[in-house]
């Protein structure tokens, strides 16, 4: 029994370790961009949902913004169409948009199901509900790529209303332009715009990479904390490439607009969100303001 008790004491210590973090984020808004592998693998999916639900239960106000690119491509294929991309952006004609909206809403309601199963009230909204996301048409180097939207305004009222009513809001990145046409939106952009507008405490990107590297080639050069000045330096030095470039741009943008801390973390690590938030183990890369350039975790 004694050895057993030691195991339990360790458990208690983990909970106690979480105490200051629970306190710090009490009633704070945390936007979680949820995408990549963590949306495909069943167990990782459960992990993420458990994590976000726990955040909700201990008094935070998490908001999930999800993507769904792979699933869209699958359904585009199912109806016999060919997915088409320009500069990494999906060319979105009317029919593709119709499928994209259907698929994203399906994904949205699946996530609602998973949260509800854990006994927490969830509500899935698209950027159309309550006029949440208003967009302009986006061009790719001047080329028309169809119904791809650039966010021009966020009306967060519906999210505040849902949070007040104790729901966990799950947002699907679809919006409307001034003519009320439907547009697909990059989920990173949507998460960033929502976090900025609502003055979120945290914005976390769950992705398929470990974080930001000093040297993209050297996987041992992962950076755990990055001020926005350092981030801009890395960009201007040409050290940031591929999909990380716009993501890092979003991060810098969010910090400038008042978000306290942005995280890029590897969604393939089980419970990465919990570990980052509740333990002394930092996960991935944190982007922070100049003034806050002090270590959050005593690593």
């Amino acid at each position: 029994m004694r050895e057993n008790m030691n195991k339990y004491l360790e458990k208690a210590e983990v909970l106690i370790e979480a105490l200051p973090y629970i306190q710090r984020f009490n009633r704070k808004i945390i936007v979680v961009k949820y995408g990549g592998s963590a949306m495909v693998d069943g167990e990782l999916k459960n992990n993420v949902i458990e994590d976000v639900t726990l955040l909700k239960l201990v008094g935070f106000k998490p908001i999930i913004v999800h993507g769904g690119g792979k699933e869209i491509s699958r359904w585009v294929g199912k109806v016999g169409m060919e997915p088409k991309f320009i500069n990494g952006l999906r060319v979105t004609d009317e029919e593709t948009m119709e499928i994209a909206e259907m698929v994203l809403n399906k994904v949205n309601k699946e996530l609602v199901t998973l949260v509800e199963r854990l006994g927490v009230k969830a509500v899935g909204v698209s950027g159309k509900d309550g006029g949440l996301l208003k967009v302009d048409k986006k061009y790719s180097d001047g080329q028309d790529i169809g119904y791809v939207g650039e966010i021009k305004e966020v009306d967060p009222q519906i999210l505040y209303d849902m949070l007040e009513k104790d729901f966990l809001p799950i947002v699907c990145p679809v919006g409307m332009d001034d003519e009320f046409h439907t547009y697909n939106i990059n989920a990173d952009d949507a998460a960033c715009a929502i976090a900025k507008t609502m003055n979120a405490e945290k914005l976390a990107f769950l992705t398929d990479i470990e974080g930001v590297y000093k040297d993209y080639e050297d996987k041992d050069s992962l950076i755990s904390e990055l001020t926005i000045g350092e981030a801009e330096q890395l960009i201007s030095d040409g050290n940031i490439g591929g999909g990380m470039l716009p993501k890092l741009g979003n991060c810098i943008d969010a910090i400038r607009s008042g978000v306290s801390r942005v995280h890029i973390m590897d969604g393939r690590i089980p419970h990465c969100l919990l570990l980052e938030i509740f333990t002394n183990k930092g996960i991935g890369t944190a982007i922070i303001g100049e003034a806050e350039s002090r270590y959050y975790h005593e690593k």
Copy 2:
């Protein structure tokens, strides 16, 4: 100018005529089951949305519950599957259910768009959000027809929350069973269950028939008002057939549970909802309780 003025005075009279009805339904819940042709024809669709939006603006609390059967069949076909029905109920295997949920949510967000375009806040919810609709598996004469659900419980909290926050809720008839599997629900049933649980003042079915006939063969025998006793008599006399049978059953059920007045009306008549509610012209058939068997409109 004088003759012009007469035209304007007539306009004023119409508005004044609406006054007592606006008053009577102030802050009352009105559930509108929206389906059939009125969902296909573009102009009729606009009409219905204008009508419901006007109800909202003058102080009522409308809730739309919509179907989407034809659109589901179209998409089932698109992916190369064959729609299958048993006793008029769609056999809904897992893949069909996936498509159905996608399509219904797409329809849902289209309606959200239309309402938002008129400047009124709308929110689309499925029966999964906030655990709104809980179902049991439904069998058709003992036959397994897949993910077709029978409503066993309505948790209306999410709808009350949305109404309090001044949204027009639009409900898509999808629900979950105790194991959190997704089920398709008949939209009439969903509308009726919601109206009953929320003690709606009115429940209106927009359909493709004029109303209830004394003699189904004789289109001149339309009944404008029917007590639930008379309705049961018609049923037991065998005068009610086809799709009207379950609909009338829903009507009787709703009245018994406290809804004041149920309407079956022809959605193909432009603005039928407004005409029924705001003018002295009754549309279609009204089903009422025994005690209330007095004429609502002075026809």
Copy 3:
């Protein structure tokens, strides 16, 4: 039946036409100065009350400010006194003031009765209640004309309280000076002061003239929209005469203080308020700010 249906469709169209206006003025304060013939003729009186009540029911916040000059004169005569005027202002000795207050309050409660009869909660207040209207003594070219007051302060709290409690407030233009003596107030001035203090969206004067004319002699020269600049030009050109001069001064004053739109309309036109607000037919003359000089109705 078909021809009949057309009639009904026209009705629906009138209601739908009102939709954007209902939306625009939702929860906005509209002050209606009610005087002249529309207070004498029984049917016009009913019309005005129906109109204001409808504004209330569809979500606006109307406030009626009424006059009562003719009725005061009648009662002054009844007790054997002679009404006396200097420069169009009633010389108001103590006994006249006593009668004026009695008569105005009687008129006030009559209006309350008419609104209550339509099933809407009304409350009649005088400028004494809750210290609503505070006045200084007014002189006419230096002459003492007794208890005639000039508004020096509005304490609108009682009106906000009544609106919050869902009453339609009806204000009788009587106030107190710093010594708590009772004074008669010009109803146009009272309406204007209240509209200004409460940032009303609209201020409407129901009068016995059609509106403002370009040329006072030419009844065909009615102006439908007038910026405050144009209004001042008309005044300085000497084109405005008689009772219209102070009224137009009030209008300019109100617009300058933040009221969006002031209307001078002919209370003898049945339902002129409804027509002006809910239809594309503009009635009388609208005074607007420079910046807003665009047509409100698409005429």
Copy 4:
């Protein structure tokens, strides 16, 4: 200075003496019927208003219901008519009613002025406002006496609203029948009906007599406390006469309906209300329920 100090200490003792009474009536509704000489004499009038205002300021919720009979007669005379009474009830034809309503509202606003002058928010309402007092026509031994009303229903919402908004409501006893005709109401009846409907803690009648006498002829036989049983005995013994009979009936009725204590007191005694409520000196006659038959003041 020392002798001076004693005077001040006595003052302090008076305030301290009031402490338990202030506590007992905190947030309780006290209806004061205000009539008779106390409404005519200028100084007594000020006394009464000071008293009621003090009740308001120390946390009670007083409501004044006033009469105005003498003033009505004076104005009926002024326009050359002859006041007419049957069995002590004013025969009220249409013109008399018009004058009565004018006069009562004038009296009402005078009281509002007096309260406002003391820095407390007052609002004058008639029984028409918010549908406060609904009446049936009253007959006197079968004779038609015109617009004299018998209260059939009190809708106290407007009074609750005013109290919530911290106003001192002053009620003028005029009401409407189902056809929305205006009626004069006996102020005692109005005060009693309001006290009953609102479950007032106290109902106080300020009158021109000292209270109830054991023997009407013997002015030394004043009764300070009377259970409703004793009151009924006095009535059946024929010891109660004249105007006291209906008043005592009102008292018994009020106690039966839940009012804790009814007072009949001599409004000619300066500050009788304060003395009764805040000191150990009981004034006039208190009518109480059987169960409460214990002395309130330790006399």
Copy 5:
């Protein structure tokens, strides 16, 4: 790094394990009787306070009721008096009571300090504040033992007020009788009375024994779950002795009055509260109602 990661994953699992418990007790009141060794040992003290603070932070509503017997004896000694006990109850003369109140309030504020240090708002109240605990004098077998009180009424308003304002209330077991004399109260009794009155979800006694034993002599016979029926059987069988008897009586009493679950646990086990509530490890003995006789932890 990999082995490290395993450690972190275990941490995440502990947090996830807590999820259903956090959910179950969200906004529920949990009364913790805090006494014995856990109040003396510095580290245990910190443990208990951390545990209760964590309960607060994750959304529960804990209330601490503390004792202080040993400390009272120490101070009684310091002033040169001799502690005296009859049947285990402290004989409490006036001076002893004065010291007891001083000491208990000091202990109370020490606990306040410890909670505040963890960044959570605490408020220390005695049973006098807001009239929380009203007592009768208690006799020990008919003997007068001075100012020892038996709770006769709990007025929990002050605790509800503090909880609403987000404080962690810490209660010191001192109360007043009807004459407003001060009395010492047994802390177990106080905790039990408060838990009953406030319908607490849980009542936990932190003591110096492991729990209830089937056979008091056999330390291996600890019972982990006990229905109140079984508890009464144990008592009538004479298996319960010493201080456990009144404690178990309190437990049965609490369950009968609506508390869902009472725990007797060993305060010497670090973080026993957390372990009991958040992990699958049950600590000590749980007393439950008959109907709930199913295992809470899957051990």
Copy 6:
């Protein structure tokens, strides 16, 4: 009887005299520093509590801040220690602090008892509760005098919370430093800091001197009203000595920070608080801002 009546009329006049003062201070915060003889003499104690309770009942928001120096010394003696002072400040080692905290909390709860006995809800808080008083260590001319604190921050939330919940808060002057050590605080300083932070309308010091004298030697030179300019002049002229110096400093400080009026009054005069606040008799010395240098009482 007549002569008796005169006595009662005088009583009424006292209450009426209080009317404007009740009005002026309605819902205003009044901080009362309670110390000196008035805390020792049983009857004076009752007087003060009655006065403050009356203030509460008539709508003010009093807060009591009490001292307890003499009682601390008594208990320090009881345990065989020697009280030690440097420059009038108690040297407070750890054990003395422990005793001081015990005694102050005991005094605190005694005052709670006295208020509760008058039927008003009281709550005793120390400066530790809710982190009300945060201190730095205070040195006396550079000398370490132990746990004597200087207030560096007031967090008044707990007092606002208690006032909102209708409690009369009683504050004991103990606080914590950043390391959460306990410190004794001068009660005058605590009262002043709380009054400043909460923008109290009034701050009253109950002391053992009559007030401020023009000439300290001449007891006839008591000053009834003093602007802060005059006060500073008196200080620089060397006319203020002893304990009055820091007190007057506190007064000036409070006025500068927005308190409207500070009173130094003789707590040995029965009901001095009531007399000062409710009658035309000014007690002691009032310190006021320059701009307000007009006589408050018409003496």
